[in-house]
């Protein structure tokens, strides 16, 4: 299932954390270099490539006309998928998504959906009959850690550049996808009792807990997920909430607002 | 009170040096790991109400041959772990090619757990008095946690079972009980064992079982315990129908040389 963890590697990283250090010299609250390129795929209605340190993720947004869900007849639909392709890591295998990928896709989805990033009411074509279905597909190219945040940032960036293809589908003019919120996901992993953000794959491999917090522009929180078998103290948790607000705002300001 | 029902995580004592089986120590205090009865006499320990059998060194258990490899019989032990009986642990010298002649797939065997490694590799031995292939009789399964009931205080229950049913009885630690006797005797004994397992009260259970096996509420008092005891001992040594006398002697010699019987 998972690769056996090297005890030496674990000791090394834990010891560093005890001294307040990380393998790549970053501080606990420091995000790796982030590059967000948008409109990288012409065929997609919206797209973004995210480089987070060495992690590379490509997110494409496609829109199709489809039927609404019965309980939200006047709203568009969001469908988020994520595949951990074998191209991205020696640990990934081909085949349908397993629980790890499904979980991540659902957390990315939750951030977009619960923040209200997409104005789904405007994606209704004919109530109860036709609505726009927004497909967010996350294509992982290189897993150097923290795929989840890279995917989330990619998703919102791709959505922000997306067009509703009215002409192509014979449903009116092309318009910009109505976006009303910019959620930012931030994940922490536990290294020997310290929570560090934007973990590398090495750090992830020795950690037993990941905490993801997605924040909105007003500093409120729209989605959270604890993942992994470790436990979380209330103190660490609440401190992470504060940090995610602060760092989330920085990322939003630096990378999303100018898209 | 010396004993009471406890649940996992329950604080048992503040004296961490008294931690015994079924407990763990955190921040200098002893907590229970199990749902069961805590015993505060001497070390603080907890005996669970239920749980799977996990092989432990020196246990006598009843296993089933599920595979035969060139040098091992692979045994199903009624636990999460299969056991290995190496050909050299058979009481006789057996050639690799003939292993199946002695014990084949599906055979039930009384073995002793010789060792259990950290990774739960379970090694079994038959080079012990009492080990044997079970060619007759029946095997009844009870919850491993109920084994103490079937044995009874100082073996009192087993004694009654044997005496009143006229059957041979062997209680394996893994909850498998081998019985051997006449068919109708075994039927009654099976019911009696089921009774022991399902009864909620232990008080007077020995008597109750005795009465049942004697076939009714009247019957003799179960007073002659000492006599019983003698019979038991005799029974044990006479039962070894699958281990020839010669091997028994060899085993005895081995045992003398190494009282632990571990090598």
């Amino acid at each position: 299932m998972s690769e056996a963890i090297s005890r030496l590697k674990k000791d090394y990283l834990f010891n560093l954390a005890l001294k307040g250090q990380r393998e790549d010299g970053r501080g606990f609250d420091e995000v790796r270099d982030l590059i967000v390129e948008t409109n990288v795929i012409d065929k997609a209605e919206g797209s973004a490539k995210v480089l987070l340190g060495d992690t590379q993720v490509l997110v494409g947004v496609k829109l199709q006309v489809g039927s609404p869900f019965a309980d939200s007849a006047d709203k568009g639909v969001i469908i988020t998928s994520m595949e951990l392709n074998p191209i991205a890591s020696p640990n990934f295998e081909a085949g349908p998504p397993r629980e790890k990928a499904i979980e991540m896709a659902r957390v990315v989805d939750r951030g977009i959906r619960e923040s209200g990033a997409i104005d789904l009411n405007k994606l209704c074509i004919t109530e109860g009959v036709e609505v726009w279905i927004v497909f967010i597909d996350v294509h992982v190219l290189n897993d150097s850690g923290n795929l989840l945040d890279a995917a989330s940032i990619g998703a919102i960036a791709a959505l922000m550049t997306a067009t509703v293809p009215g002409e192509r589908e014979g449903r009116g003019d092309d318009v910009k996808l109505p976006i009303c919120e910019m959620p930012v996901s931030l994940s922490f992993v536990d290294i020997g009792g310290e929570l560090v953000i934007d973990a590398t794959n090495n750090e992830e491999s020795v950690s037993d807990l990941r905490l993801t917090i997605v924040t909105n522009q007003d500093g409120s929180i729209c989605a959270m997920q604890k993942s992994g078998p470790g436990t979380l103290s209330e103190e660490n948790f609440l401190r992470s909430v504060e940090k995610s607000r602060e760092i989330g705002a920085q990322i939003r300001g630096e990378y999303l607002l100018n898209i | 009170m010396d004993r009471n029902i406890v649940i996992p995580g329950q604080l048992l004592s503040e004296k961490k040096e008294m931690a015994g089986p079924g407990t763990y120590v955190k921040d200098g205090n002893i907590y229970s790991l199990l749902y069961g009865v805590a015993n505060f006499k001497g070390r603080v320990s907890v005996v669970p109400f239920s749980g799977k059998y996990i092989p432990s060194r020196k246990d006598f258990i009843i296993v089933k041959v599920i595979d035969v490899t060139p040098s091992n019989w692979i045994m199903e032990t009624g636990s999460p772990y299969d056991g290995l009986l190496h050909v050299s642990e058979f009481p006789k010298r057996v050639d690799s090619s003939e292993m199946r002649k002695f014990m084949d797939i599906g055979d039930s065997v009384v073995v002793r757990v010789k060792d259990v490694s950290k990774a739960m590799k379970v090694e079994l031995s038959m080079r012990e008095q009492g080990s044997k292939v079970l060619r007759q009789g029946r095997i009844i399964e009870v919850m491993p946690a109920k084994v103490p009931r079937v044995i009874g205080h100082g073996g009192s229950m087993v004694s009654i079972l044997k005496k009143e049913s006229n059957c041979d009885v062997f209680v394996g630690k893994n909850g498998r009980i081998w019985i051997n006797g006449r068919d109708n005797d075994m039927d009654r004994l099976t019911t009696a064992i089921e009774m022991i397992e399902s009864e909620s009260h232990i008080s007077g259970l020995t008597d109750k079982v005795g009465i049942f096996l004697r076939g009714g509420p009247e019957g003799t008092e179960s007073s002659d315990e000492e006599q019983l005891v003698d019979e038991e001992v005799a029974g044990v040594s006479l039962e070894d129908d699958d281990v020839t006398e010669e091997t028994s002697r060899k085993v005895d010699v081995l045992l003398e040389n190494d009282p632990e019987g571990t090598d």
């Binding site: 005890l18 896709a105 | 649940i7 015994g20 239920s50 060792d115 739960m120 209680v171 045992l255």
Partner: protein, 352 residues
């Protein structure tokens, strides 16, 4: 089909189902309801009906899934097709896959996985009727099923959700609150307040989250009390004296034959685990503050001393099949080296 209520909380501070904001729905629990399972529990919480069963520790196949130094804890959350208004397709969905994953992880910190290397502990939670909060209900039932199965655990886990309706935080959402509320924050925690499951969707401020955690903690405290009562009352029909007798029997057999009971296996493995961790202080937070009992020597010596009386009685008084063991080993053993050392020694020889 928006039948969203206009108000969720009335002027008296009562919710649609008459509860206060910090009140959980009534919960009833029944233990040991499935004969084939090693442990089981049926739980009703409001209109939720869930059934949890534990199988194991048992052999794990395929082999590549095995973990060499601990058991795998596998959790399967499953909703019956008829458990909700509109029939759902049976079998795993993405939602149930995610819930299964994080719920299983909610138990990993308390289950003593290291006692059963290579084995699997399967936890199955079936939602028979769903009415908001099924994942938390399933966790509450699964804890009891694990305990019922005799799985060694550091403690219980309880779970409940906090949500937000009418701008107010509420504990343990009911169906309308779940459907139309502004947030859902399901949490599971251990008795000492460590969070083992945390998810959230909707919208909450940082302050609300801090308050929500406190509410959830209080909710979990109530649930712990219900769980404990269920466990202690399982033997309610048996009077205390009976229980003592059972314990005596257990203790007698456990001690008279040296290393027989499951617990003792437990202790042996533990001592090894503990040793291993010594040169690895940082290994993980669990092991850091958790000293497992039985550092070999002291334990065995005392144990022998402690039980010698009882043991003697036993030998003198009566003989049973069990004597087979004692005849050959008991004396040698009482004076022999500690369990831990013994098994370590042998290890070298056997793992050729």
């Amino acid at each position: 089909m928006s039948d969203k209520p206009e108000k969720f909380i009335d002027e008296n501070g009562l919710r649609l189902d008459g509860r206060r904001v910090d009140e959980i729905r009534p919960m009833t629990v029944e233990m040991g309801v499935l004969s084939r399972a090693d442990g089981s529990c049926y739980l009703e919480w409001g209109n939720n009906k869930v059934l949890a069963a534990v199988y194991g520790p048992r052999e794990l196949h395929p082999r590549r899934l095995q973990r060499p130094s601990e058991a795998l804890v596998r959790y399967r959350y499953n909703m019956a097709a008829f458990s909700v208004e509109d029939r759902i397709r049976p079998g795993p969905s993405r939602r149930s896959t995610e819930i299964s994953k994080v719920s299983g992880e909610a138990f990993e910190p308390v289950v003593m996985k290291q006692f059963y290397p290579g084995a699997v502990i399967d936890v199955f939670a079936e939602v028979l009727q769903a009415d908001a909060g099924t994942r938390t209900a399933a966790i509450n039932a699964a804890t009891l099923a694990l305990v019922d199965a005799g799985i060694p655990m550091k403690g219980l886990v309880a779970s409940c959700a906090v949500g937000k309706v009418d701008g107010q935080l509420v504990l343990d959402l009911n169906k309308p609150e779940d459907n139309y509320g502004d947030a859902d924050l399901p949490i599971a925690m251990t008795e000492d307040g460590e969070i083992t499951l945390l998810q959230m969707d909707g919208n909450l401020t940082a302050d609300e989250i801090a308050k929500g955690i406190e509410m959830a903690r209080k909710g979990c405290e109530q649930i712990f009390a219900i769980q404990k009562e269920a466990l202690l009352s399982k033997f309610g029909t048996t009077d205390e004296e009976e229980l003592l007798k059972e314990a005596e029997l257990q203790a007698e057999v456990a001690t008279s034959e040296d290393e027989t009971e499951d617990v003792e296996v437990v202790s042996e493995v533990v001592s090894e685990v503990a040793l291993e961790d010594e040169d690895d202080e940082l290994k993980d937070e669990v092991d850091e503050d958790l000293e497992l009992q039985d550092e070999g020597e002291a334990f065995t010596d005392d144990e022998v001393e402690d039980t010698s009386d009882e043991a003697e009685d036993l030998f003198g008084e009566d003989v049973s099949e069990f004597e087979i063991n004692e005849g050959t080993e008991s004396e040698g053993d009482s004076s022999s080296e500690p369990e831990g050392a013994e098994s370590d020694e042998d290890e070298g020889e056997k793992n050729e």
